[in-house]
């Protein structure tokens, strides 16, 4: 038992480093691809690493009226929570490090923490722009949580019905048994709807256009981040990068858990390497659709429109997906 704990402790920095490197790498890819789609050249892929380094050595300014410990503490909290997400998600074919200690419900809460940290940091920075941004962030959090929760609950319900006896909210169990194999054609459509909804929640969750109302550069000058600089800003930047990888990994674990080593009949180290590369490919596809493509394709919404989009359309679609899965279950049961 002790050995296991030591092994886990030793793995945490490795996963943190992996998350940070992957997050920054994907940020770089995101910027290059977005630039190419906008007929620009864009920065080199390593630009986010340079940005981070530059921010780290810049002066860290704390506003005079700010609540100092909250203002300085929140960036750390955001990074810590983002990295913690990765400990509960299967990455590159490996089981989650903290398997058995937390499930999807915990992940939903962990996903909230970086946003909450931003909100608190925004309020603590004593700037009207940051306050407006923080209010908007809270509103959009409430908005996208509803379809997200409905989608996650639907998946869990599907599992509890199809495979009684296993922990239905456990991400490792979900990843081990691809959801698509548990449903008939009607449920397949329902699952597809849920997948698309989670992809639509992704830009809200990681705060990119069209759902970046809380940071809207041209409206409220980066909102909650307006007073942040130097190391604190670098940490929020990092948290955003890691959270993108975290959320995309959750999506992959639920909907695209397939490996490639079985298909290619590889074994040993080759299999691990192949699965890892395949995971990166899946990650790229999810990030490309959920972040890059959407942010170059549409303008920013107003906060009222964000609420309408998530509470209205996305939630209705999620409920439709849930109904389809339920209908599918009835049809399958009738068939037996």
């Amino acid at each position: 038992m002790n050995e296991l704990i030591i092994y886990q402790l030793a793995s945490v920095p490795a996963i943190a480093a992996l998350g940070i490197i992957l997050g920054l790498l994907f940020k770089g890819i995101d910027r290059v691809l977005a630039a190419r789609m906008q007929a620009r050249i864009g920065p080199p892929i390593r630009q986010p690493f340079r940005d981070l380094r530059k921010l780290m050595i810049k002066e860290n300014i704390v506003p005079k009226n700010a609540v100092r410990f909250v203002f300085n503490g929140m960036p750390l909290l955001a990074v810590a929570a983002s990295i913690t997400i990765l400990l509960y998600v299967p990455i590159a074919g490996f089981l989650p490090l903290m398997q058995g200690y937390g499930d999807l419900i915990l992940l939903l809460y962990l996903l909230l923490i970086p946003s909450l940290a931003l909100v608190l940091g925004g309020f603590a920075s004593a700037s009207p722009y940051a306050s407006i941004g923080a209010q908007r962030e809270m509103v959009s959090m409430i908005s996208y949580e509803l379809p997200l929760a409905v989608a996650v609950a639907s998946i869990a319900w599907l599992f509890s019905r199809a495979m009684p006896g296993i922990a239905s909210f456990s991400l490792a169990a979900i990843a081990a048994n691809p959801v698509w194999e548990l449903v008939g054609p009607v449920g397949f459509i329902g699952l597809l709807a849920l997948f698309l909804i989670l992809l639509a929640v992704m830009p809200g969750e990681i705060g990119v256009i069209p759902f970046d109302t809380a940071e809207a550069e041209t409206e409220i000058a980066s909102g909650m981040l307006v007073e942040y600089s130097g190391r604190n800003l670098a940490l929020f930047y990092l948290a955003d990068a890691v959270k993108t990888v975290g959320f995309a990994s959750i999506l992959i674990a639920i909907f695209l858990p397939y490996g490639i080593s079985g298909t290619l009949s590889l074994q040993g180290a080759n299999a691990v390497a192949a699965d890892a590369l395949f995971f990166l490919l899946k990650l790229f596809i999810v990030v490309f659709i959920g972040r890059v493509l959407i942010r170059v394709a549409v303008p920013r919404l107003r906060i009222t429109q964000v609420v309408k989009a998530y509470w209205g359309y996305a939630t209705i679609a999620a409920l439709c997906g849930l109904s389809l899965i339920a209908l599918d279950a009835i049809l399958l049961a009738g068939g037996c």
Binding site: Q38, I209, P210, E217, I220, A297, I303, T304
Partner: protein
Amino acid sequence: MSEGKTFKIAVGPVHPALKEPVQLNCEIEGEQVKHVDIELSQVHRSIEWIGTRRNPVQVVFLAEKICGICNICHTLCFCEAVESIAGIEVPARAHYIRTIAAELERIHSHILWAGVAAHELGFDSVMHYTWKLREKVLDTTEYLTGNRIGKAIVTIGGTKRDIEEKQFGKIREACNYYRQNFSRLRDIFLKDPIIKARARDIGILRRDDALSLCAVGPTARASGVKKDVRQDEAYAAYPDLDVKAITPKELLGEIRGDVYDRIAVRLLEVLQSVELIEKCLKQMPEGKIAYESKLAKVLSDVKQLKGEAIGRHEAPRGEVFHYLKMVGEETPYSWKVRAPTYNNILSWIPMLKGAQIADIPIVAASIDPCMSCTNRAAIADGKELGNEKLHRLSVEKTRSLKKGPGSERGNCN
């Protein structure tokens, strides 16, 4: 967000939504704008004052520097005023060249504006796309005048450069380019559901408000006021071209006076400018390009004038108005420039009342404001800074900078 409790935010003088310094003091309730107050005069550059210390030929160059984008407008207005006092008759060909230059400028300005508007909405892809389209007009301008932006083509009594027959091909090519791309630009701005959701019924300026606030240019026309100097008081080659003021009715069938209408009017005006340039190329008469090619002779003609005159021109943003008074001296006795933003800026108040914070950038951009053309005084803390005070502050600042870093902080009162 408690009921009835308002707080104040200042948009500007330095803010990502504003391209030039101006301050919008907004009273906000929740996300709603309750009241707006505008503070101007953060970028006074004393161009009129400098102008009254130069002779008219020198002022032509100065007038071009009033605005980067509208460089033809101010030069043209000033030259019109001087020509009118001196009784100089401008050759017909020069009128046509001036018109072509002015319309190229309008295409450039409107497309640049469309990109800025897209950026205010957070739609950077469209910004980059429109600015790519803008390159064509810049290339054409460079081909005709040697510069991408500053054309330096208008002079007193005519133009400095000719547009020759062999150059028509490239201008026509540019016109065709914009004709072909117009439908795409129109679809992007007027059919995109999110742009529509962000621009429709936002920042409404009613027709009577537009009239009572003396709004000009696309801002007024989008509210249904058919006002266009090119139509009402035709000058240069415009009398031959039959210009009609454009309202959104032609494209959309109705007039609401919102941001969406202002986008539509500007897009239509790009097409109108293309048509005008093509007409000019077709009808361009032969002849001289200036009443007198020797600058020294021009100078001696305009140096000792007596009298006053005005010059008017429909700039991309609206009517530009110059007033000039000469009293027989080498330099103008008085020179007053009124840029279109001066008229349009107050329409922000009815437009922003009841809008959301998210609408402030696009509504502010929708009148295409140009601050450095508008400001006529430097004001700090509600008090005008006179010549002496400004001079003293500048000297103090220079001295403190010379002392080294850190020492300037305590000195800027």
